[in-house]
């Protein structure tokens, strides 16, 4: 016990000495998360603000295709984030060059005629190489529209096939063609009417800002635990190890002190941040709720550190140890479902997730925080902690024997 206190003191001193590195350690994950967040939001927000500008080039001079392209422009304009414009080929190329347009859709000559005949027609999408992702979006969009037109056209041809066998006059048949094409295309595009949509609001995600703040805090807790634990590791020379051994210090005592120091530091930091975050929510919590959340956060930190400690014992090479620990961090966060719901993962993986303590703890935390649940079960996480501790002490024991 004396040794344990001594080493804890040593680790605290070490942390004090390297305080600016420590600060970097805590700030760095924040930077990464902020950066990802900025990049992600720039994708979504900007695509709404900045409309996708599409040039439509019609190389077919027939009146039918004029109508059809007009129709497509109208349909595209229904999308609020798309701006479509009829242009000549030269104009469109100029616009792309000047980065004014995301892409151009080119209707080839004889487009309408070929379509009527039922021969295969190719639409051409000219993407802007300066905006690759956006060009892809346009391409997807055009492919969807093409599928609709093709589907409509297939059925029109069927109708046409029957119409030919009736006593219809050639002029009437001609006008019927166009009429049908317009009619069917419109009909197809109006597919939204098929669905009657209801959108529900699920409690935890009612306010995405609140949800993601808590989720980020949760992830940060995991990342900090791992980083700090690794940060506190140090190389002890053989002679120093010998000296420690003579002083009656076992390997585990130093390790335990490291676990304890990391645990306390991250726990204090996370608790404070959680308390601040929770005070921002418009929910009144009881003391018992706070206690429950506190217990779960403690379990989360302790389990993470013990798993790291197990890695520390198992892997011999420093390089491998560190890489595996960083990998562990990714797996723990992905498995928790805090960032991305686990229901979208492959089925085989989904079955693994309930075995993750991060998954279990996150589930309870969201229940407690957002659904104001009055009950919590620590059995699963507690059992896992017991398991991890048993495994850890077993490994330390084996290692101690082996070293002798």
């Amino acid at each position: 016990m004396k040794n344990f206190v001594f080493f804890t003191h040593q680790y605290l001193k070490q942390m004090k000495k390297k305080w600016w590195k420590l600060l970097l350690l805590f700030v760095f994950p924040l930077v990464i998360i902020a950066l990802s967040f900025m990049a992600l939001s720039s994708i979504f927000v900007q695509s709404e603000q900045q409309k996708l500008s599409i040039a439509i080039v019609n190389e077919d001079t027939s009146s039918e295709s004029q109508l059809l392209t007009q129709l497509i422009v109208t349909i595209l304009k229904e999308n609020t984030y798309i701006q479509a414009e009829l242009l000549s080929m030269e104009e469109a190329e100029e616009q792309i060059e000047q980065n004014d347009s995301t892409a151009a859709i080119v209707f080839p000559s004889h487009f309408a005629a070929d379509l009527y005949e039922g021969t295969s027609v190719k639409l051409h999408v000219l993407g802007n190489p300066q905006e690759k992702t956006q060009s892809m979006v346009v391409n997807e969009l055009v492919e969807t529209i093409a599928r609709y037109i093709a589907s409509a056209q297939a059925n029109i041809l069927t109708v046409y096939h029957y119409a030919k066998d009736t006593s219809i006059s050639p002029e009437e048949l001609e006008s019927l063609k166009l009429e049908l094409l317009m009619d069917f295309t419109f009909y197809t595009m109006g597919k939204r009417k098929i669905l009657r949509e209801y959108e529900w609001v699920l409690q935890p995600f009612e306010n995405p800002l609140h949800y993601y703040s808590i989720a980020i805090l949760f992830c940060l807790t995991i990342i900090w635990s791992i980083l700090l634990f690794v940060f506190l590791s140090k190389q002890t020379s053989k002679s120093l190890q010998m000296r420690l051994k003579l002083a009656g210090v076992a390997f585990w005592q130093e390790h335990a002190a490291r676990i304890f120091t990391t645990f306390m530091t991250v726990l204090i930091l996370s608790s404070v941040l959680f308390a601040i975050a929770l005070s921002q929510l418009d929910i009144q919590y009881y003391a018992l709720d706070y206690l429950r959340m506190f217990l779960f956060v403690s379990l989360l930190i302790l389990l993470t550190i013990v798993v790291c400690a197990i890695f520390d014992v198992i892997f011999h090479s420093d390089k491998v140890k560190l890489l595996m620990t960083f990998l562990l961090c990714v797996v723990l966060i992905a498995g928790s479902g805090a960032v991305f719901p686990t229901i979208y993962f492959p089925y085989s993986m989904q079955q693994l997730f309930p075995n993750f303590y991060t998954f279990d703890i996150w589930k309870w935390l969201t229940d407690l925080i957002f659904e104001e649940r009055n009950y919590a079960s620590y059995t699963k996480s507690g059992l896992m902690l017991a398991l991890a501790l048993t495994l850890y002490s077993g490994l330390v024991y084996v290692k101690g024997r082996w070293a002798r």
């Binding site: 037109i149 009909y187 190389q235 492959p346």
Partner: protein, 372 residues
Amino acid sequence: MFLFTRMLLLKKQLVPTLIWLLMPLILTVVVVQWGNAAARDAQIPIAIVDEDHSELSRAFIQELQQMDLLTIQLMGKQKALYALEKNQLDSVFIIKRNFEKELRNNKRNQLIEAYSTNRSYFYFAVKENISSLAQRKATQAKAAHEVKNLLNKYDSDIEWSFDEIVAQGQQREERYELLTVDFSYYNENESSSPTEKTNLLTSWGIWAFFTLISTFYLFDWVIKESNHPVVVRWLQSKISYITYFFSTLAVYLLIMLVIDILTYRIIETQFIWSEVLVMLVFRLTCVALALFVAVHLKQVLSYYFITPILALLLALLGGVFIPMERFFAKWPIMSELSPVYALLQWDVSLVWSVFIVLICMYVYRKESNRFA
């Protein structure tokens, strides 16, 4: 002479060195394969409630089940909505009673009820898929309706049936590719298939990430040897430590470049010299970065700790994990922050090329000042 001594040192850790050298290639292949498999298996869980129990509704569900993206569970309304509430499903679709009857009568409005939540990330895609399938059914029904009208109008006595017309429409759609779309970038000659290219981009991104880590970890000798007391012995040797240092660097670089070209051959189908050049510049940048960090650190452990974090940051800024194009459109300078971005654009970054040269000069000065 030099090689002999270097081999003496390397011999003891030949296997780990080789593993670290090959790690980016192996992990890229594994991750891409595994990632593709996972993406293929990754499914969107939805529930379908069949209230109609008609032939058409069953056929409709069957067609839905053939879609790759969806995992469809058939269940009762109560159960499905409960699961949705518990966030176990992305969305729920209810095929209303009279689905078949309405369709046959050319009515298509609100045939299906769709339930989603504010956490249904893929509802939009699923909705598109399901409504377009339903729309196809409706269009086929409309065709039958039009035929019926036509035949009535011109008093024709041609035999027809609803199912026949529907079947014909479907056949035409499947048999002929009536309207296709091809894609190319403006001013780029090879009409590249866009989806293929995006896939490749990610695999190079992953390669870049692992290459950063492996280069960093392979260059730990810089710290280990430069801070070793044995360095003093180079005073009395024929070649100076700085020559020895840079020769070692050259040998590592050579081996790395061979492996890089091998990697390029394995991952890409074509062999384009300019792209290989870009790769080599990227590798040089990695080495320069590793040197830069290594000469400033005394402890290997902190080097091992800092470098993966640095690699992660650079990969993130380079757009390996999240596309950064929009972000860079706003702040163009940011795109120069990571050498990974230039690699993914198959571009040589001027800033980083200058960086390589500067670092080489810097390290040369630092190391040669040792015994001045």
